[in-house]
């Protein structure tokens, strides 16, 4: 019964997302694209946070890596197509993750969080200091890339591109989480010592999870810069990273789709709050309220509510 409720809800949401551009105004379509892009990043982070039990406060660096891959390639090499830029940014983000991961995965818990945070900040500093190469704090303007020669004309066809990539990434992450590798990283999260006794290299699993997570977040970075048209060093910074962590927890990090829900809810919340003058104040307040009153996130709350409603129906 509960399963059927979830399945119906999922199908309804997917139908709304597919048919959305027909009846939503273009601003909402833009926000939906933005939300789906962040959803990719949030799902990728949850592979680390929820499944491996490592909290990264430096995932902004992969958003930045993806964004600057596009921007620098356009500026210096003149590549304008997604079919080159996407694999390239995946490679670069994965390489960055491997490099940073070599330092970070030796740490756990809070140590891991702080070291990833410091690396994100390092990239931010480098990016804003080398004005000649990266445009410094001004960032780089980016034109939206083409896909196999197809030029995106409006927000709608780009939305469908984002949506299909989101589905692809979500599916890929789902497959990874449910593969033997996925089981192994969950075992690492639950009891690293026992996994070690079983003869698996804990650090290797943490590192691979970090690399996969970074690569998917890099895809989100590419799409993000294509949507906003501007690569800025702030995307490396801790504010971006904390935002992604918040999205994950807002949706609920104990469920697979929770982070995606959290990302979309966050983007709409932000768009609604931003016209207020002090939106950061309300954002901070929202974070605190969420943590104190809704520990399972939005999806966790819905699950709880659905289970309770079902019980009431039965009795």
């Amino acid at each position: 019964m509960l399963q059927r409720f979830y399945r119906t809800a999922l199908i309804v949401v997917l139908l709304i997302l597919i048919t959305g551009p027909i009846y939503f105004p273009s601003f909402v379509v833009y926000l939906l694209s933005y939300g789906l892009i962040m959803a990719i990043a949030a799902l990728a982070l949850n592979l680390l946070l929820g499944y491996t039990g490592l909290m990264s406060f430096g995932h902004g660096m992969f958003i930045g890596a993806g964004a600057y891959t596009v921007a620098l390639m356009m500026k210096y090499v003149g590549i304008h197509s997604f079919e080159v830029l996407l694999p390239l940014s995946i490679l670069i983000s994965a390489g960055l993750a491997a490099l940073v991961g070599c330092f970070c995965t030796r740490q756990i818990e809070i140590y891991f969080a702080m070291v990833t945070l410091a690396f994100g900040e390092l990239l931010f500093v480098l990016c804003s200091k080398f004005y000649g190469f990266t445009g410094g704090t001004d960032g780089i303007r980016v034109k939206i890339p083409t896909l196999f020669g197809y030029v995106f004309k409006g927000s709608v066809d780009f939305y469908y591109f984002v949506f299909s990539l989101f589905l692809l990434c979500a599916l890929a992450i789902w497959v990874i989480c449910n593969s033997p590798f996925g089981k192994a990283i969950q075992a690492v999260r639950d009891n690293a010592q026992r996994v070690e006794y079983l003869g698996l290299l804990v650090m290797k699993y943490r590192l691979i999870a970090f690399i996969i997570s970074g690569a998917f977040t890099g895809i989100a970075g590419v799409l993000m810069v294509s949507l906003t048209g501007h690569a800025v060093p702030e995307s490396f910074q801790v504010f971006t990273s904390i935002t992604i962590v918040f999205m994950v927890l807002l949706g609920g990090h104990t469920t697979f789709l929770g982070p995606a829900v959290g990302a979309i809810v966050f983007v709409f919340l932000q768009a609604w709050l931003k016209p207020l003058f002090f939106w950061q104040f309300f954002l901070g307040g929202a974070i605190i309220l969420l943590v104190v009153f809704l520990p399972g996130g939005v999806l966790g709350g819905i699950q709880l509510w659905a289970a309770k409603a079902l019980q009431r129906l039965r009795s």
Binding site: L49, C102, I108, E109, L117, L122, L126, I288
Partner: protein, 292 residues
């Protein structure tokens, strides 16, 4: 050549002093509460703006009281920290670290926006409290910076005495070592935590107040020092106050040398040094081996 060396040394120690004030509070709070306190950025920036408000509000005939402004604002910041710990942090001690970090970070967002609301989004500053300089071996150095170095030393010694010689300090150390056991001995652990948070926040507030005449303040300034504080405590190993003193000295010197010779990448240099040391010794210079 000698002048250059002395100058680099003094600048390094000065910077190290501020970093130590920032990270000492972080270390004490982590030791007792087991929380990495992002809200420390809020304490720092509130220290700056409270000091600014006091200095602006002081009538000219009482200008000799200017010197007490950082202390008074540190006390205010400490009390605010106490309210925050009792009102909010207390609720989430048993939760995952990621939730704790998120709550303390959320408070920083709120504080930053409140400051924007009260004092505006532009940067503020006051004139130097004293423009006197000291001539040391041909190096002319501002007296105020030397005073900050002395105050830092004072705080370091005060913390040493507090932790080694007084009952409060012993209880704090005991709580950091084994909370359950301390509770069983009849110590009010909740109050120890509250006091620790008060102390830690007050030190960060003092650091902010002292830095106001040097750097001024703007919304978000706390975050920059917070991240440097994180680098220091990651280097030192979490929870070790003496380690923080040495790590702060290392980072301060690296920064000072970096500014002199590689001004483009001075900040990057700090992070690189941190990465190198953490590769050699993952638990930090003075940290216990982290639990696997």
């Amino acid at each position: 050549m000698l002048e250059l060396v002395i100058n680099i040394l003094l600048n390094g120690i000065f910077y190290a002093g501020i970093l130590f004030l920032m990270s000492a509070g972080l270390q004490i709070i982590f030791g007792v509460l087991r929380i990495v306190n992002f809200a420390h950025a809020g304490a720092y920036i509130l220290g700056i703006y409270f000091t600014y408000a006091i200095i602006k509000a002081l009538p000219p005939e009482y200008s000799f009281l200017l010197w007490t402004a950082p202390l008074i604002s540190a006390a205010f910041v400490g009390l605010l920290g106490l309210a925050f710990e009792r009102g909010l942090l207390k609720l989430i001690y048993h939760r995952d670290p990621v939730f704790q970090i998120l709550v303390t970070a959320g408070v920083v967002y709120m504080v930053d926006d409140l400051i924007r609301f009260t004092w505006g989004g532009y940067s503020i500053g006051v004139g130097p409290l004293t423009s006197a300089t000291l001539n040391m071996g041909g190096v002319v150095y501002p007296l105020y910076n030397l005073l900050i170095i002395l105050i830092t030393l004072g705080v370091a010694i005060f913390l040493q005495v507090l932790f080694r010689k007084t009952d409060i300090g012993r209880v704090i150390r005991a709580t950091a070592h084994d909370e359950e056991m301390t509770k069983a001995m009849g110590v009010n652990v909740g109050m120890v935590k509250a006091l620790t948070f008060l102390f830690g926040s007050a030190i960060a507030g003092l650091a902010g107040g002292l830095m106001l005449p040097v750097t001024g303040g703007w919304p978000g300034v706390g975050n920059e020092y917070l991240i440097l504080g994180f680098v220091v405590i990651a280097l030192a190993g979490l929870g070790s106050v003496n380690g923080a003193l040495i790590a702060a000295f290392i980072i301060g010197m690296v920064n000072s040398i970096g500014i002199q010779f590689f001004p483009e990448i001075e900040l990057a240099l700090i992070f690189i040094i941190m990465a190198v040391i953490l590769t050699v010794k993952p638990s930090g210079l003075f940290g216990a081996q982290p639990r696997k």
